[in-house]
Amino acid sequence: MAAYLLRRTVQILLTLFVFLTIVFFLVSAQPGDITRLYSMDPSLPPETRANLQELFGVNEPLWKQYLVHLKNTVTGNFGVSFSLYPRTVGDVILERLPRTLVLFATATVISFYLGFALGKIIAWRRGGWVEYTSTIGGVSLYTVFTPWFGLMMIWLFAFKAGWLPIGKFLDPVVWRDAPTDSNTIFNLMLATAAVLTVVVFAVVLATSRKRLAKAPLIQAGTVTAAAAAVVGVWLASGVGYLAFDLVRHMILPIATLTLISFAGTMLLTRNSMLEVIREDHVMVARAKGLPEKVVRDKHVARNALLPVVTSFVFSLAFAIDGGVIIESIFSWPGMGQTLVSATVSEDLPLAVGAFVFVGVFVLVAHLAADVLYAYLDPRVRYR
């Protein structure tokens, strides 16, 4: 296993190098450079533009710039963003990445939960009307023209009904007299969510192992109590209304993403279940006279979970790319938007930094999925 990990790590580094090279030359193959943004400004004399070019180092030969960016990537210091000067690339990514991750992690978790639950049912009732309606409905949502679907959601829930905000990360009116900035609140919210997740997970793990009769009751009680405690703490803190504003802005994009993606998990679970159903241990379980629900949930679904878990890891990795469309429809300032705008405006340091992040994310997720697979399925061994 150690040798396998080492070999994969070396391969990851090589792949990342090739990827970085392709991306760098692709981005700088665009005509002009970052200073072309300023060339529309008549009050800017040509000398200033030349100075800017010199300052950013974009008048250097391409191979020199490439070496600089290569060095930056190796040292992990991506330098200063051109378009968001004087903020550093690391700073920008550190601000935008959590926003994207929160959106997509939440939507992915919900849609996997929903998809797995539905997939179990439709595999069990194969050929029934439940299967056809949910397959056709799910596939339509899965392949829906995303910009149109996002706009329909905005039109319905924000524009017509007025329940939710139309887009963006926050409402400036609410934040005008705010005692602190949105990043602090957002990070505090992240910390709360993390604590909540750990508490709930620990309780569920502890009770499900003990085979207590009242386990579902205890679990539900803990979840409610923990959620109530979180709401109470935020209300008492005095900045609860700010957190509420951020949450309000998150609901619509998360709902849209969940609706778009749950069918993928549903169909994967269904196929995986149908393959497990054929195995002998399922027939044994049935022959023992176990209730159908127990056979389905404990003997088939557990074994069918394997490919679903791997695809979960992968879909987290592709959050940034998939985020481009949703983020631009909902004007959500996340990584997807940053990636595209940095590339189009030729903000080389930010573009290289963002692409390297995407690359590392995907490659590590790929490795994590493989390792997880070997851990979950003892039959899989890597040499």
């Binding site: 899965y142 023209f145 481009v324 595209v340 590339t343």
Partner: protein, 316 residues
């Protein structure tokens, strides 16, 4: 001369048997396909759009006047206000520039099909060859191709396409080639390779090699045909993603195309009718629903082919 007759006769007999076998497996597969039902729905939608695409040139040459109904430069002189609501002469109304929406919809259908099929063919040809070669040779060829696949999978596809279409003039043809390269060397290649791995260890490959078959012969005659069912399945999924990418890119106004469903919504958006959903529904729904329906139909078709191809999904 006699010998030749005998050879022709035996070849004919061989082909007769092959055709009979192919016919039988086709009938079997067709009944499996019918059993899935969702495939029929997908096929029906695809046929409907094929008819739409075929009807457009006929209508243009018979009852539709070119000056009024041309999807790109036409103008509906019979309507006082543009965009005009649906009427008898314009069943889906006109767009903000006075062009007939139904004509645009039907005209675009053909290029959507061409784009989808071309991208799918590219993907499958590349993917099948990559899969077969990587599995057959193994070793450093395999490593090289699979690491290339890693890079392709790692490319954030939509972002890369946005960058490329901002860089070059990307039309339907270029987009099809790009999608074919990205997906053929990427995900599809990996899936087909894992299938090919189970083919190249079969005894008949060794038998073919022992009988003196060359590498190319073994690859083309013994490996690739056994990958074709799976390739065909992945063609359907590629069509879906190609049509979807085209729609997104032309919705953002990044593609160099004259007319497409995505561009129709782009026109609606740039004229400012996008959130007037109930008042100007004919500017938004026909194109968006067409994209969704055609994408879903190819996906449903792919799903039901999966049940035909994959024996582990058959009913007990």
């Amino acid at each position: 001369m006699r010998l030749d007759v005998a050879r022709v006769a035996s070849t004919l007999a061989l082909w007769h048997m092959r055709l009979a076998l192919a016919g039988r497996s086709l009938r079997q597969n067709w009944s499996l396909f019918l059993g899935t039902r969702i495939g029929i729905l997908g096929l029906a939608i695809i046929l409907f759009y094929l008819l739409l695409a075929a009807a457009h040139p006929i209508l243009m040459h018979t009852i539709w006047d070119e000056r009024t109904y041309d999807p790109i430069v036409g103008y509906a002189f019979d309507e006082p206000v543009q965009p005009a609501p649906p009427s008898l002469s314009h069943p889906l109304g006109t767009d903000p520039l006075g062009r007939d929406v139904l004509s645009q919809l039907m005209f675009s259908t053909r290029s959507e099909f061409l784009l989808g099929l071309l991208a799918a063919l590219m993907t499958v040809c590349i993917g099948t060859m990559v899969g077969a070669i990587a599995a057959y040779f193994g070793g450093w060829v395999d490593t090289l191709l699979m690491r290339l696949a890693d890079i392709m999978i790692m490319m954030p596809a939509i972002s890369i396409l946005i960058v490329l279409s901002a860089l070059f003039e990307v039309g339907h043809l270029e987009l099809a080639v790009l999608i074919g390269l990205l997906s053929g060397f990427g995900g599809t290649g990996v899936v087909l390779k894992s299938q090919a791995l189970s083919v190249v260890v079969k005894p008949y490959i060794d038998a073919a090699r022992a009988a003196g078959g060359g590498t190319l012969h073994i690859l083309l005659v013994h490996v690739v045909p056994n990958l074709l069912p799976l390739s065909f399945l992945y063609m359907m999924f590629t069509v879906t993603s190609a049509i979807f990418s085209e729609a997104v890119l032309s919705f953002l106004g990044l593609l160099d195309v004259r007319m497409s469903w995505g561009l129709m919504i782009h026109t609606t958006e740039s004229a400012g009718y996008l959130l007037q959903v109930t008042e100007y529904w004919w500017l938004i729904f026909p194109a968006s629903l067409s994209i969704t329906l055609l994408c879903s139909s190819f996906y449903l078709l792919g799903r039901s082919l999966d049940e035909v191809v994959n024996p582990r999904l058959r009913r007990l």
